[in-house]
Symmetry: C2
Subunit: 184 residues, 2 copies
């Protein structure tokens, strides 16, 4: 029972995580175990073993990136200007997605429990903002909320796919939020 991880194992685990995280911000990079290992200055086997598989490593890396975004979402969900908060949050979320374009694509179709849980929290934050916006009469109430969150989530992802800069994000947000306003 006296076998805590060895010091070098802990260090290498962190190196692998850092390398994967850094690579997530680089588009057009293969993101293979080999590449991650080289970036981390480790062997391929070590990288895989550190998290018990490539999937888990990517899950952890993306989760690490997502955590502050979720925190920001929680913070903004408490705002008493819900629509402004929603716009701010979505702008940041879109910028994040654009900067880590690779993250979404690389996670597709693999078990990623941490990331999935965090994503659910993002949706919850958005739901809170929409709900508050509705109570304030600033968000339309004629459409089911789960579809609205889907639209919002997909829009955030869409921005990333279209390789957008800040101005483009702004246009996306304008159209989206105007579409979410009460239908006269």
């Amino acid at each position: 029972m006296s076998t805590p991880s060895r010091a070098d194992a802990v260090r290498n685990r962190q190196l692998a995580l850092d390398a994967a995280t850094a690579l997530l911000a680089e588009p057009d990079t293969a993101l293979t175990v080999e590449v991650i290992a080289r970036k981390a200055g480790l062997g391929a086997g070590t990288v895989v073993r550190a998290f018990g598989g490539k999937d888990a490593l990517l899950d952890a890396a993306v989760a690490g990136l997502l955590r502050p975004v979720v925190a920001r979402g929680r913070e903004l969900a408490a705002s008493n200007e819900p629509v402004r908060a929603l716009r701010t949050f979505l702008g940041e979320l879109m910028a994040f997605q654009a900067a880590h374009h690779a993250a979404g694509d690389n996670l597709r179709g693999l078990a990623a429990p941490e990331t999935t849980a965090l994503r659910a929290e993002l949706v919850t934050a958005v739901e809170i903002m929409i709900d508050a916006g509705r109570r304030a009469g600033q968000v339309r109430g004629d459409l089911p909320i789960d579809v609205l969150t889907t639209i919002i989530g997909e829009s955030a992802y869409a921005v990333a796919r279209s390789g957008s800069g800040p101005e483009r994000i702004d246009v996306f947000l304008t159209v989206l939020l105007d579409g979410l306003r009460p239908s006269t």
Copy 2:
């Protein structure tokens, strides 16, 4: 100079194309050469050779599916009720995407000249409708049109990704088109 394709070659080429087309409508199917060949009742080599590579086969299959959609877009672009036409067209486009969810994913990142050209025509049709809508004062003119078409295109794709049925498509369209109306 007297070597037209042999009759069986022509037939098999069609079988391969049909099989690929049919498989594009089935989600969660691997869409490997093996699978296509089995479905077509051919050998793997034959399928590949028929179009000179898997990429070209997929390009041709998707193009075949896309052609009627493009024709419909051209038709609707001539409407004198541009916003209604836009909504109709996008609804059909989204339904198409939802039905052929696999098409988009499988074409990603491979040379597909035919499909790319057709996609450009889709964008052109949408541009015409937006432009007509603007002249009629029914579509906002305060945002760059190329970003609007991007938003529209990505939205169509987003619907497919979220596995949507007709009601869901309708909600998407409502939000999107309300967002495209002139900003009072």
